[in-house]
Symmetry: C2
Subunit: 187 residues, 2 copies
């Protein structure tokens, strides 16, 4: 089965993603991955020759999973308000419940030291998310693309910032504090 969720490649990516959201690109080694998965580091290199390959794959999978889960923003049968709230709740689940930073926030903070291949995947993620949010906000507020894009930027900044604040203060309440005005205005 090519879509086996328990094969070694998947386990490696899951483990890598876990390490990255904890401390970033430089905070783990191939041996860390190998130990966690229960294989040797040479076997990790067999699946992902270089660290850039591995982290690129993790980031690409992250984008892909968003791409699959996000509903079609032009689907008239869907309420844009519910779409945005679903997006926020998904983010909150990661930040507050799992107490992790998002992969996107973490890798973005490491951008100046990231291999080019990872930066490309990161840029693809931003493109996907900002496009989607822009389209949903355009419908929500019957607004121009420019306005929709501004609101998308605001929400994305709010979410990034909320995750930093929760991490920095250890107080999950900061997530809802940071989002409260945005929610009461648009949602």
């Amino acid at each position: 089965m090519t879509t086996d969720k328990n094969d070694t490649k998947t386990k490696i990516m899951d483990t890598a993603e876990g390490f990255i959201v904890q401390g970033g690109y430089n905070a783990f080694s191939f041996r860390d991955i190998a130990d966690a998965v229960g294989i040797k580091s040479a076997s990790v290199h067999y699946h992902y020759p270089t660290k850039a390959d591995l982290v690129s794959a993790v980031m690409a999978r992250y984008t892909e999973s968003f791409s699959i889960q996000l509903p079609d923003p032009t689907d008239e049968s869907l309420d844009p308000k519910i779409m945005i709230n679903g997006f926020i709740d998904g983010f909150k689940a990661k930040i507050v419940d799992q107490r992790d930073m998002s992969l996107c926030t973490m890798l973005t903070s490491n951008k100046p030291i990231l291999p080019e291949a990872v930066c490309v995947e990161l840029a693809a993620f931003y493109q996907l998310i900002l496009d989607w949010l822009t389209q949903v906000f355009m419908r929500l507020n019957e607004a121009t693309e420019k306005i929709g894009f501004m609101q998308a930027s605001q929400l994305l900044a709010c979410l990034h910032g909320a995750s930093i604040l929760v991490q920095g203060t250890n107080q999950p309440d900061f997530f809802d504090h940071a989002l409260s005005d945005f929610r009461s205005r648009y949602l």
Copy 2:
């Protein structure tokens, strides 16, 4: 002179801060510092025995410099609106003009892998900034501490998030986009 701004300790801290805001705690070595300052790594260890000592000192200096620059929030002769705008502009200068993340944002994202001593300094920074912002917002909106604290949280999240977005997209405009609603509502 104990306040010499060009002594070796200061050069080391300046260099370390530059490296940290680029890639975080794990993205530089004592040799990187030594090369940039023009000494040997053993000499860096003479001034700061461990990496935890060095980064703690950098973070403590950062907090201290904020502490000195922030005006007294209870000074009735000062306009709270101007105080907040000054705070935002100072942040913007670092993010947009220097194209760096703030030291606080960067180290917070690395928090799970930070030595305890650095976490202590980071917590002290959050305490200082949130207290100051809370007091200024209480005056600005003649609000309770709870409300002031909520607005302080929102602004701080916005600023953190804006810096991530600017970094991730390479578009400085995101800073003002992310802040626009906050500005038009309170400032």
